[in-house]
Structures are given as structure tokens and as C-alpha cells.
Point group: C2
Chain length 339, copies 2
């Protein structure tokens, strides 16, 4: 009945293989269970998972009913790339070029001349007033249905200057996972962005899984009219609402009507949304995406013209918001290219 050495060795190898197999199985179960596979293990990921567990545990002190699990996300720089310039600005410049043949006067008028001449210095010199002129000229004067088609066509055919990929592929894979993780945990996810609501709505459902009615953004004035008996909404050359800075909590209250328990942003334009979200009783989470990865994306914060992160970075410290390092916390930045 006694086993010889060879048999014992085989037996032991068998055990080892079996144990390794069990370990592998356990590891793969854990990997499959990981809702945030593109996030490196660390404080940021732990803070997110702990928060979601806490508000979802029915017998816990921090439990929040699903209906009140409202999560708001900034878009530019939080869900997709915003450098070297906002995508919507690229859209506006392309539209100005496309419309130029109908506007010969633009050849002599700033800031239009600057766009047509590719004169970056003159464009910068025109300042925020100049940019608003470009936005109005490119975003108004058509019906809402026509504008939707213009956005759809442009977003399907345009590429980012650095990455040479469609803008809708330059969304952050870890944030896509975070959106899905929150929704799987009973949250309702909203966009609350300084960008135009009608510039985002045509593609947010497909790209982020966020339907149009959960997209809050800046708006242009529209007016209802019967055009040859057919009802239309015309986009007028006038701003309606700028959804930025202190405008974000105002918009959250106006459009959503509930106070979020989670908010994510990346710039000073998100400061008040984060304050509004976290500055009350009960478990809350504020999150800031810090662009510190010049190699895989861009590195910028306090001195950037676009997506400046200065006051909100200071506040993160005192308020206990999670600052996500793109470089250290994210294993992947963008999704793999679609084929």
C-alpha cells in the first residue's frame, strides 16, 4: 500500500496543479467580477468601490435608495478629450469654413477672417467675444432637426488632430467602465457639461449609454414656428443658458430636480457642481480627473487655458474629493480602435 517516491511526486504535482488551477479560477472570477478593469488598484479605485458598496448596502448606515442615486458627469476632459481645443470649437471652425462661400463678407471680418486664414494669433486676440461670434454663426439659423443632422455628419467624419481617430473614440475607457458600474449599481447617470446639449445628444446614448433626456448642457435660444404648416424649432442667434461653474448646480436643480450623490469633473468649471454634490449630509463622492499623462493623452492643470484645474484642485484637498491621476490610476486611457 505504500507509495513510491515517483508516485508521491506525481501526486504532489497533481495537488500543485490542482491548487494552481483553483488559484487561476479564483483569479479569473475576481477579474471577471472587477467592474473597473482599466483602473489600477490604488486609493482612487478603492474610494469608488467603497462608496458604491456603502450606498448600495441595504442594511448599512450610508444606504441610499436607488431613485436617489443620481450621478453627474462633466463631459469635456472628464469623459472625452478636450485638448488641444474643445471638440465643439473644432466643429464650429469647420462649420465656419463650410459656410464661408455663402458669406463673402467674412473674408474681411474678424474673427471669421482669422478662421479662414488659419491665423491662430488673430483668433486668440478676438477673445471670448470672438469665439461666441463663431459659435453663434455656426450653431444658429437652422432648425433643431437640421442641426442634429449637421452634428451627426460632422462627428462621423472628423478626426482628432493628435490621435487621428474619431472624437467619439477618444473617450476614456476607465470612465466608460465607471458609468456602467454606477448604472449596474442602480445609479442614474447624467451629463452636466458646459458643452452644447444639442451638440452632445446625437451621440451620447451610443457612446456613453446616456440618453438625450439625461444630457444637460449649454443651450442656444430656440423658437417654435409653423413653417408651411409644419411645426419646427428654429435655433436663434442668442445664448439661452451657459452650463458652467455656478451654472452647473443651477442646471442640476432645474433639469434634474434632485441633488446628486456622485459627481465627476476635471476643471474649475466643475467646482460648484462638486461643492453642491458633496456639501451636505450623507455619503457623497466627488471625483476629479487630473490630466497628468503627457505621453498617453495631455498633461495640464493650473495654467491651462482649456480645462484649467486650479481652485478645484485646492478644494479637492480640503473637501476630500478623489483626484484621479490619469497616469497612475488608469491602465488604459482610450478604448481599442473599432475595426
Amino acid at each position: 500500500m505504500e507509495k513510491n517516491v515517483i508516485e508521491r511526486l506525481i501526486e504532489r504535482i497533481g495537488y500543485t496543479v490542482a491548487i494552481l488551477g483553483l488559484c487561476a479560477a479564483a483569479w479569473s472570477v475576481q477579474a471577471a467580477d472587477d467592474p473597473l478593469p482599466s483602473w489600477n488598484d490604488g486609493a482612487a479605485k478603492s474610494a469608488i468601490v467603497d462608496f458604491v458598496d456603502a450606498v448600495s448596502s441595504e442594511d448599512g448606515a450610508d444606504y441610499v435608495a436607488p431613485a436617489d442615486r443620481i450621478a453627474t458627469f462633466d463631459n469635456d476632459g472628464t469623459l472625452w478629450v478636450e485638448q488641444p481645443y474643445y471638440t465643439q470649437l473644432a466643429f464650429a471652425l469647420d462649420r465656419i469654413r463650410a459656410l464661408a462661400p455663402e458669406h463673402p463678407e467674412w473674408r474681411a471680418q474678424q474673427p471669421f477672417k482669422a478662421v479662414l486664414d488659419n491665423d491662430v494669433e488673430a483668433l486668440k486676440a478676438s477673445g471670448i467675444k470672438g469665439v461666441m461670434k463663431l459659435v453663434i454663426a455656426s450653431h444658429a439659423g437652422m432648425t433643431t432637426a437640421e442641426f442634429e443632422t449637421i452634428v451627426e455628419d460632422w462627428i462621423a467624419s472628423s478626426e482628432h488632430p493628435k490621435f487621428a481617430r474619431p472624437y467619439t473614440e477618444l473617450v476614456y475607457q476607465p470612465m466608460l467602465e465607471l458609468l456602467a458600474y454606477l448604472r449596474d449599481s442602480g445609479f442614474k447617470t447624467f451629463i452636466v457639461s458646459g458643452g452644447g446639449a444639442e451638440f452632445m445628444r446625437p451621440w451620447t446614448e451610443q457612446v456613453y449609454g446616456i440618453p438625450p433626456e439625461q444630457v444637460v448642457g449649454s443651450t442656444i435660444a430656440t423658437e417654435f414656428a409653423l413653417q408651411d404648416g409644419v411645426p419646427v424649432l428654429r435655433r436663434r442667434p442668442e445664448m439661452d443658458f451657459l452650463d458652467d461653474g455656478p451654472g452647473k448646480p443651477v442646471a442640476i436643480n432645474k433639469f434634474i430636480g434632485r441633488r446628486p450623490i456622485f459627481a465627476a469633473g476635471n476643471s474649475d468649471g466643475d467646482l460648484q457642481m462638486l461643492q453642491w454634490t458633496t456639501g451636505t449630509d450623507g455619503r457623497r463622492l466627488g471625483l476629479i480627473v487630473h490630466h497628468d499623462d503627457a505621453e498617453r493623452e495631455f498633461a495640464y492643470d493650473r495654467d491651462s487655458q482649456i480645462g484649467r484645474l486650479d481652485k478645484a484642485l485646492d478644494a479637492a484637498e480640503s473637501e476630500g474629493w478623489v483626484v484621479v491621476s490619469m497616469k497612475d490610476d488608469w491602465q488604459t486611457v482610450f478604448p481599442e480602435a473599432a475595426r
Copy 2:
């Protein structure tokens, strides 16, 4: 083996009872299957059921994907009672009376004096400008959280002058069934009302099953502030948006971002919402609640100051909207009183 007469009689009675039982069961199954039990059989009910069947039948020509099944409902006069005056006006007048001790100057100022003196003629003489003054004085000057509490307290403690029931019980039972039927059929239901969004949101989920983020209404301006370091939204004495008439399609586009395929209203303030909903390709349904039941509710249309239904009643004919007769189409008007 032959049965005697008594036995046969018993047997026959047994059969009859059994058949009656089957009939009763079949009837109760049919009743249980009826999604609109408070609607009398007729053209209105058939039009609703046919519409829902058509847009829900995956292999039908009129199929609409669930995500696009957007239904919008006016509130005053469509979902709840609006006579002898809008509920929100009753709220405003009660608030003026409650605030009067802090405002001794109101005793000599119109339209406040009229309210405090119960002088209906002087109140009417103050016109829409006077009413707006009352609305601003009663709806502004506090934080959004404070206002929510004020509304909750008032709505829980106030009664309708004619029916002596809480306003939240003076909702239309057939419309509650319609809301539930649409939701059960994959629709997302929204309120789009001239009433204040923040006057409705505290109770719409409980009463209509419509959460705050699906309530679109008129808004007062708010501003974000840090009050002793605590973030608040202050309600300012200034209108932000009047969600009525041509403002309704504008608001639908701004807040919802999708075009409804179903809309229900009851007055000329809903005309453009109904035009916007039905004035395009694809299967659509517009519905108008016609208040023609003086006995169970109120009877009014073309000449009423509140909830005037004139142009929209004419348009219903040419546009093929369903006009619901409260008297003939509704078996019940209000839900049974809660005990």
C-alpha cells in the same frame, strides 16, 4: 343507473353554477386585463389602445423603439383639477397670508391688500401683473430646500374648496391608469406643465409615478451661493422660464431632447405641444381632456379664464386629436378617498 328528477336538477344546477363560475372567471380575467378600467368603452379608449398596440408591435409598420416612446402630459386640468383656480395660485395666496405679519406694508399695497382683504374684484383688477407679483413674493427669497419643505407642508395640509379633499387626491383616476398603461408599454412619461417645476416635484413621484427629473415646468431664477460655507441655491425674485404655449415645445426640446410620440393636454396652452408631437411622420397620438362634467367636476372650455380650450379644440378636429369627454368617456373621475 338512471338518475331521478331531483338528481338531474341538482346536476343541472351544478352545471349552471359551474358555467356561471367560468363566466365570472372569464369576466374577471378580462377586467384584470383591461389597462384602463375607469375608461368607458368608446372611441377615445379604442384610439388609445390601438395607438399603444401599434407602436409596441415589433413586426408592425408603426413600431417605435422603447427609447423613443416619449409621452408628455400637461398637469393642471389634464392630470389634476384646475378649477375654480390653479392649485398653485391657492398656494401663493395662502403663502401671502402666512407671510403678511412680516410685511406690514402689504396692508396698503395691491395686489397684496386684495389678498389679505379677500377682495376678489381688486385681485382680478390687478391682472396678470398682479398675479406675477404674488407669485414672486410667495415663491422667491428662500433656498430651494426651504421651498421644497414649504410645498410639502402646504400640499399635505390643504384642501380643495369644492371637494374638501387634498389636492393630491383630486387627480384623474383615468389619467393615472393611462400613465401606468403607457409605462407598462415601455413609455417614459413626462410632465410638461405651465406650473412651477419645483411646486410639482415634491409630490409627483408619489402621486403620478413620475420622478422629479421627468417633471418639466416653469422656473424661477436661482443662484448658487456658499452660505456660511454651506452650498445653497437661492430662489431669486425673477422668472426664468414660462413653460406654456409655444414655450412647451421649446422646453421639450431643451429638457427632454427627444420629440414625444404622445401628448395630452386640456387647454390652448397645450396647442403647440400637441402640434409638435403629432406634426411629423410616424404614428402619433394627441389627446385633449374636455371638461364637460359640471356634476362630477367642472364644465368649461372656450370662455374660461382658467384652462381656456378654444383654438386647441378647433385644431383637434383638423389634426385628428382625440377629445376625451370627461362626462362620457370616464366612468370615474377621482380615485377613491384614502382612509
